[in-house]
Symmetry: C2
Subunit: 378 residues, 2 copies
């Protein structure tokens, strides 16, 4: 069957698995590798769709778990789907709620059938199964939807991971079978398997057998050391088809993005830029800046002198610090804007570096300027 | 001496004191009657300067008391003044902190010299006198600055008001004497006198003797019945010179704006539009809408079908309600935007109605549509 998305590799990189691609969705064409800002509750926190567009975002992520609880998928469906509901003209990806059910919800009970849990908002009892989640995601109407999976904790025993993975793979099959809108929504499978290379391999091969239009790598960045994450990631990617998009879920610090791209990942999402912005931390070409520190009180320069965003063009660190100290919403709006822009712009530069086949050189320059320790993968 | 502002009456209205004017400031020309959005802490809550400009704001108010406490007038001065600090290209008016000292600060002690109080932020001891307030306002650098006054409570005995007024008038003289930047900042006197017509008259005449470039009416909308406020207002305006701008402080509900304009007021400010927006209440051509009410959960129409603002052009009530219920910042951004736009647009229509000499007819139409009871002043 023809997929609702198309993916094309435009260029690759010497000595790494980095690749420059293009993902065509019903709501626009996305240049990859891409960072997807997170709009958990049908809004990327503090920002408007117009601002996201202005800063070059092409695809955002939204959370099935949260939207199911509030305002409910039926209301979103009535509004004409998520794009129409939030007035976002670009593409949307919804996760499956798997991660949230295991991290946010209370009193969960897992069986092969699905997960019973209580809403973290009002304690109401809920049930998620592959079938119910597909129904919800179909109603939300995102361009890319994720299979319902179990996201196991770290650390976990091999036995636990084996049982969990078996279930996740069975659920992937059921998701595929119950997905009703594959003409408009591309369903991605999620590779789990904890930190066990052979289980990850098994997961990848089983999912590839099911022939999804894209593959996600889940259960990473859950507390394991970074070198371990990078190793698992490199192993998994080997077993995924070259011609399909690869999505590393929940990952988004600058170094994780570089390491992921280097290993062949095409898509990323993370709440990091907006979350740290609300605490007054901004990413700059010279590393993180904690704006509340007293040293910035009379700093009349921009957040980042090398940044072209609307915030860096206009406002000073001293003013932004004042807004944050005073608890003013404009402060977190502007730091959120800058941080999301920073990652989108970094990805743009990464894409260019792949096109020009100087990805590793660009990575080295970026790490030096940002202040990351040089790492063993170079 | 030549004033740093110029005021010109362009047209007047039959059967009312409403007037259409133009106020020229060092940061732009303001059409009056005008509503000034309030940017207490050097930001109109949730909104950017760009958005304020986009919706047609020409002048905003900022609070001397708050800015003195945080970030401090010296820092604002170092930044190049308030306009430069907050990147606002339009005009700014700073109040004198009089009202805040009496409403927010703790443990105040009033003498003829000034007011000793404790910061509501950190409890630190502070002293405001006419001279210190002028120094602070000179450093903040607003286009229009206010004399330091005592804002008496309502109700208050005649004796209390007499003593307080005497002090306020002496302070007005001292403010004028210590104001250092009258070439760039216009100092307005503030008419107090409680609800006593003769004291208000005395206050107005004494201030007019001092020849200020503009006059404010303070101590209204402090809890007295609206008919009483309107009566005092009408009396005071009689004693103010026709050729100088008149500013009714802290007033800003739609009906208060109409009643003020009708009695000859040129300038208004109020936190109302942004404050009620944060509680999810919006003003529309058909009256107030409390968005959190369940009846709007599936309302896919705009906030106000007769509004041209960027929010009404784009978003639905159902989406805005979802954002507010979910505690998302974008929700209060968008309701704040709409409410400020609504009042600015209403004032624009009021100005047009004066030009066309149909102010009372426009007022009647507006009240009918908004759902205000017809009032005795017509």
């Amino acid at each position: 069957m023809t997929s609702s998305i198309q993916f094309k590799i435009l260029s690759t990189s010497s000595n790494t698995n980095a690749r420059r691609g293009r993902l065509i969705t019903p709501h626009g064409t996305i240049d990859t590798p891409v960072f997807m800002p997170v709009g958990t509750q049908a809004t990327v926190k503090t920002l408007s769709p117009f601002e996201l567009r202005e800063m070059g975002a092409g695809i955002i992520l939204s959370n099935t778990y949260h939207l199911h609880l509030r305002p409910g998928e039926d209301l979103v469906d009535e509004a004409g789907g998520l794009h129409q509901f939030m007035r976002w003209p670009g593409a949307v990806l919804t996760d499956s709620g798997g991660f949230q059910v295991f991290s946010l919800a209370k009193l969960r009970k897992i069986t092969d059938e699905g997960v019973t849990f209580r809403s973290h908002i009002d304690g109401s009892p809920r049930f998620f199964s592959p079938e119910t989640v597909m129904e919800i995601e179909n109603k939300l109407g995102a361009d890319i939807i994720m299979a319902f999976d179990e996201c196991p904790p770290y650390p976990a025993t091999r036995e636990y991971i084996e049982t969990s993975l078996k279930r996740t793979l069975a659920w992937a099959k059921r998701c595929k079978a119950s997905h009703q809108r594959s003409d408009q929504q591309a369903l991605f499978g999620i590779v789990q398997g904890g930190m066990y290379a052979d289980l990850r391999r098994e997961a990848a091969l089983s999912l590839v057998d099911l022939d999804f239009p894209g593959y996600a790598i889940g259960g990473l960045s859950v507390g394991e050391p970074k070198p371990m994450m990078n190793e698992v990631l490199a192993d998994v990617v080997c077993h995924l088809p070259v011609d399909k998009p690869r999505y590393l879920m929940g990952v988004g610090s600058p170094d994780d993005l570089f390491e992921g791209v280097e290993r062949g990942v095409d898509m990323f999402d993370c709440v990091l830029p907006t979350r740290i912005a609300r605490n007054g931390t901004v990413m700059t070409s010279r590393g993180k800046v904690v704006l509340k520190n007293a040293q910035y009180s009379r700093d009349f320069g921009p957040l980042d002198e090398n940044c072209d965003c609307q915030v860096c063009k206009v406002y000073t660190r001293a003013y932004l610090r004042h807004l944050l100290k005073a608890g003013e919403v404009l402060g977190i709006r502007l730091t959120s804007y800058h941080n999301v822009y920073f990652l989108l712009d970094m990805m743009k530069k990464i894409r260019k570096s792949i096109e020009e086949d100087r990805f590793l050189a660009f990575k080295r320059e970026f790490y030096e300027s940002y202040g990351f320790a040089s790492n063993d993968s170079e």
